[in-house]
Amino acid sequence: MAAVRDGVERFGDRMAALALVRPKQPEALPVQINRRRIYVLPTGFGLFVTLLIFTMLIGGLNYNNNPALLLVFFLAAIANNSLVRGHLLLSGVRLKALHAEPVFAGLPMTLRLRFDADGSRDRLGLELLCGEVRCIFDLPAAEETEVAVDAPTSRRGWMNVGRLRVSTLRPLGLARSWSWLRPDTRLLVYPTLDNDAPPLPEALGDGDSPRSRSHGEQPHHLRDYRDGDMPRQIAWKASARADRLLVREYEAAVARDVELDWFALPAMPHEAKIRRLARWVVEAERSGSRYAMRLPEQRLLPGCGPEHRHACLRALALMPGDSERHDG
């Protein structure tokens, strides 16, 4: 739900770039929101009500109309107290942890943020803004809440979460109280997968080609769909029966080490090489083979399993860029 930001909100966003706005530096989790970093500004509606109250105040004073003045001061006090209440709703909220499963660049990354709070106050109607994505959540007293927001990814490597905004319009919608969170957490983004990569390179040594095994007639078993699986591997009929996407896993009768060699790749752009190797890592892991990888200045020994897959993809994700390589 990407609501249109009103003028005051945009103003607040612009102010966030100022050096004075807290937090000034990215900070380690857990982070607790205290009064020094809560900002409160009226919303458009709040400005409208303020103008209204002011008009009524002038009118009431001019006519010395006491009941009207009592009404005006009553409204003004309610509005004023709502600012304090909004502030108190945020004060004491704590971001305990932030984590996210790595994704391939280009896919949205689901950030999971765990919040809790001090005190016995129910904090309802909080809003987390991450980039352009808003997520509204409640934080009941003495409970932890996990909030998931999708953040877009564009480049491989470490991604900074950047500025997150926790805010609330409660209690009356007259003002937005907000606080910026700048967790120093770095999140890993894998390289984008090469979509038309050639098949895995031949295994080392002699013997049957892994290709024939990899595409044998009998599927070994079915497993859940994972990001990066080829559409042609999806078992459509089985998926329809199971009501979730299933993928055929082929038996690799003889595990042979696959060598994924940076230097063996044909001449192609730097990033394209990374994308192709990333695809091969995924393929090799899926085929069940052990695979080794040789990168400039780095060598990963043969292995397999989720940890090895992650190590390889991480190494690829953190490869220096093309320009950096030439400079250094």
Partner: protein, 648 residues
């Protein structure tokens, strides 16, 4: 783009807006109120946006109706009705959160507008729930994942209202007021009834059955007898045969000087708004109240029309003599009669005068005539062009206007200067509040004649009517019409007395508060007349105190819900910090006690025993019975470091 409003939420917003409109709606003429209510209901029921042309047409039609209801006059009342018409049309375009917020905001204006017309407690008691509903609706419009229950919203709104009280009261009492308005209150297009510039004896006056209060008066000190309670309003000098009117030229002259012949009485008048400039004072006023000045006819007038309830202290003496003689111009005016009219009255006056020219004797004879031959009735028969002749010689029936006018005409014809004075007579004593209430229907007219060497003297010919000849009074008429007021004199009298007492208390406490009274607020602090800066300072202090109180309440809204034993331990640990070695926040109790034992070896063993007991319960899964737990809590709480001797 704009999100659409959930129908349930929309209903709530419309309800809140309707509650806000209610006080204003009650002030409209009945048929206009019905039309607006019907439009509002229609607008609330239609769930989709109407074409712009249709909405424009509706707006124009309602605007036309509003103008027609007030005879196409532009005034405060027209404006208020116009505001209501706009608010009633607003639901036709309320479909998003944004629309709903603007509806709620604008509808807050409605109670304010209602106060411009009626400042009574009724409007306030209707406005308060309206504000609560409005804040509830505003809260419902804020985004959230869960939908709290209605009672939760109601509690929140009630709590917010309670919290707002200190601040609101501080603002109300202490916010600096304007001594004089920046601009005048727009007049109503339909004038209120009341004492006027004009009296036409032949005309029926609505004021005679108007039950609205006109003024309340409280005597400071001695209360004069009821038959002396004539409350003086405008003086009417010019007579054209039909109507008595004011002589504005004469009123421009300086006020006459008077010498009291009887002790003065002091009293405080709370005058309901009249939209006119005349104050009402007890006959005869000695001095004008500070807010007014005497004109040449001894009527106290203010600079601005009285649009709000005002209060002033007056002093009067029932008997006074005029120091200066009547000047030629005034005497000519006070003797002028329209030529050719009322020949029989003139003839009789000339005849009586030739028999005895003394004004006192003439008056006495006239009053005896009235007592003998005349009746009081408010349903007086119609009279012709010679109104006074017809009244005196044909119908013999009338009310105060006829009597006072006839006496004045007769005296003028007899060569005695005379004029008519309007005002209020009598009053209804309220024992609860010790004050006198005068309704608009207590409006009265009497005559003043000029006696050389004494001045203007009040004669009330109406009072001369024999009691058994009072045929038809206002109360009789109302009893016949079956109004509530008809009952007022009977069974319900105590109820009316109480309700008016409450009304008067509201007037005194809320309505009568103004810049002058605000200046005297700081009198208990020894400041007689507060300067503006002192008021600003007082306001700031008051506001800060109110805000501090609000904050304190807000912070204590969250209670420490942890176990009493845990709380007792925390207190105990704070107490132990007095040794100079406080517990670090990451330190478990036992390790802290170990550290403390090393640093302060001569702490009594009770400290360590208590700490171990607590740690066993908290961390070692020791089960404690309720009694044991209470005992441990109490011992932890009662521990005082002071009672323990510390070495060094």
């Amino acid at each position: 783009m704009a999100d659409t409003l959930d129908p349930g939420l929309r209903r709530w917003c419309l309800l809140a807006a309707a509650a806000s409109m209610l006080p204003l709606w009650l002030q409209l003429p009945a048929w206009l109120a019905a039309v607006l209510a019907a439009t509002g209901l229609l607008a609330a029921m239609i769930q989709r946006r109407l074409p712009a042309a249709l909405r424009l047409l509706l707006t124009l039609m309602l605007g036309g109706l509003v103008m027609a209801a007030y005879n196409f006059g532009i005034g405060r009342d027209t404006g208020c009705a116009g505001l209501l018409a706009m608010l009633v049309l607003k639901p036709f375009e309320t479909f998003s959160t944004r629309d709903a917020r603007s509806l709620l905001g604008f509808s807050l204006f409605a109670p304010f507008a209602a106060f411009l017309q009626d400042q009574g407690p009724l409007v306030w008691s209707l406005s308060l729930p309206a504000i609560l509903l409005n804040t509830m609706a505003m809260a419902m419009l804020t985004p959230g994942t869960s939908t709290p229950t209605l009672s939760w919203h109601a509690r929140q709104a009630g709590f917010a209202a309670l919290l707002a009280l200190p601040m609101a009261l501080a603002g109300f009492w202490l916010f600096p007021r304007l001594g004089s308005p920046l601009w005048g209150l727009p007049q109503n297009s339909k004038a209120h009834m009341g004492l006027g510039d004009r009296m036409t004896p032949n005309e029926w006056l609505d004021v005679l059955v108007d039950d609205a209060p006109a003024l309340r008066a409280r005597f400071l000190g001695r209360t004069p007898p009821r038959e002396d309670m004539y409350w003086r309003g405008p003086t009417l000098m010019d007579f054209d045969g039909q109507a008595w009117t004011r002589d504005l030229a004469l009123e421009q002259r300086p006020a006459p000087t008077l010498r009291p012949l009887a002790p003065t009485v002091r009293y405080e008048v709370t005058l309901e708004p009249t939209e006119r400039n005349d104050l009402v004072l007890l006959d005869l006023p000695v001095t004008a109240p500070p807010i007014g000045t005497f004109d040449g006819d001894l009527t106290a007038v203010t600079a601005e029309p009285i649009n709000n309830l005002i209060r002033y202290v007056g002093s009067s003496s029932p008997k006074m003599s005029y120091v200066q003689p009547l000047d030629g111009w005034s005497r000519r005016s006070a003797l002028a009669l329209p030529p050719g009219l009322n020949p029989r009255t003139r003839a009789l006056a000339a005849q009586w005068r030739s028999e005895n020219p003394d004004p006192r004797a003439l008056t006495l004879r006239f009053l005896q005539w009235i007592r003998r031959d005349f009746s009081y009735t408010i349903s007086a028969p119609p009279v012709g062009i010679n109104a006074t002749d017809d009244f005196l010689f044909e119908t013999h029936q009338g009310f105060c206007q006829h009597f006072s006018s006839a006496l004045a005409v007769f005296m003028r014809a007899a060569g005695v200067p005379a004029r008519v004075v309007t005002g209020y007579a009598g009053g209804h004593y309220n024992g609860l509040g010790d004050y006198w209430l005068l309704y608009r229907k207590d409006a009265h007219a009497w005559t003043e004649i000029w006696l050389d060497g004494r001045g203007w003297v009040r004669i009330d010919p109406t009072a001369a009517v024999a009691p058994d000849r009072i045929l038809d009074t206002v109360d009789d008429l109302q009893a016949r019409q079956g109004g509530i007021a008809g009952l007022a004199g009977g069974v319900l009298s105590p109820m009316f007395e109480t309700s008016d007492f409450l009304r008067n208390a509201w007037n005194q406490m809320v309505l009568g508060f103004d810049a002058a009274r605000q200046k005297s607020l700081l009198r208990p602090l020894g400041i007689q007349e507060a300067e503006n800066w002192q008021l600003v300072l007082a306001f700031s202090i008051g506001a800060v105190l109110a805000l501090a109180m609000t904050l304190w309440l807000l912070l204590h809204e969250q209670r420490d819900n942890s176990d009493p034993l845990v709380r007792a331990w925390r207190r105990f640990a704070r107490e132990l910090a007095g040794t100079g070695y406080g517990k670090l926040s990451h330190e478990p109790p036992l390790r802290y006690l170990d550290r403390l034992a090393g640093l302060q070896p001569d702490l009594p063993p009770i400290v360590f025993e208590l700490g171990r007991n607590y740690a066993d319960w908290r961390y070692a899964g020791l089960q404690l019975g309720d009694d044991e737990k209470t005992a441990l809590t109490r011992r932890l709480k009662r521990f005082r470091l002071r009672s323990v001797k510390l070495a060094g």
